[in-house]
Subunit: 124 residues, 3 copies
């Protein structure tokens, strides 16, 4: 892990932290993905993305639905690419982080980072 | 139920009706979520949302796929938050309304409304 | 099939080709839906859509997850409507094209095209 930073629930601060961290392969954000007034991670991330990866949030919620049912709807997990850096925003809950990291991010990180570096072709 | 209103398939009228109704906890819109020329609910809602809740439309279509297969693709159900009011747009069909209301909105309404009121933290 | 055209991985050229083809009922685009630097189909399509059909990409990735697991996340398949023309962007892989065409586009094309032509009502 290259960097670890805790920032307040403020979209500007979250955005600045992503930009600072965007020298690495991937940024994983935890928390701030709900619908409470202070949950602005989704907006902060969406406003920065060069390429949106709809599948990350979708498949996270699909898998989450299998674990927690309709409550999965409340998560605004979102992913995409800023420059050549992958950005994934996961819920702050331990179960949510584990699900997203183990089932989606960890298995695909090497593949996606390789595609972003220009190697091979992202066929699917 | 606080308000009940029928408005024509016009994005401006749909938008005005949402704003009028946004003094309540949740607005449920029925119909206008397809792809026919007059189906503008999706655009009207998206243009108003402060916070988009991707999971509502996604999980609705995932569940709908289990009932009606590929036809679920045609539904542009969408949800989110305007101010502190939840907004859910469901198809006009009885089966679609029942599915979305019973499986997603009803079980989560109290939880989501509580988060919007600032109580607790939307961890997942 | 009315038209068949191969265009370079350039968002402007992809966009022009969609507009040229938008005299037909449906445009199916293959490839350029990944996250590699040259994969710009998603952006080109999103920038043109009058009506976004979130369900196409969602259900494609849901079905794809059943076949290839977490790698489904890398696909930025997207669909929607430009004028009265359906536009679907699928991955370039044979398996991805087959999945999207056989399970989603082919079964719904007639129904969706009928709705766009103003016939019947897209109830769900």
């Amino acid at each position: 892990m290259a960097l670890y930073e805790i920032v307040p629930d403020d979209p500007g601060r979250v955005r600045q932290a992503i930009v600072r961290a965007a020298v690495v392969q991937a940024v994983i954000i935890n928390g701030g993905t709900g619908v409470a007034p202070r949950d602005n991670t989704y907006e902060a991330v969406c406003g920065l993305l060069d390429k949106r990866l709809d599948g990350f949030g979708e498949l996270f919620r699909m898998l989450s639905y299998g674990q927690i049912g309709s409550a999965a709807m409340a998560s605004r997990a979102v992913g995409g690419v800023v420059g050549t850096t992958l950005v994934f925003a996961l819920p702050g809950s331990t179960a949510g982080c584990r699900l997203g990291t183990e089932k989606l991010i960890a298995p695909e990180l090497g593949h996606l980072a390789g595609l972003l570096a220009g190697g091979g072709h992202g066929s699917r």
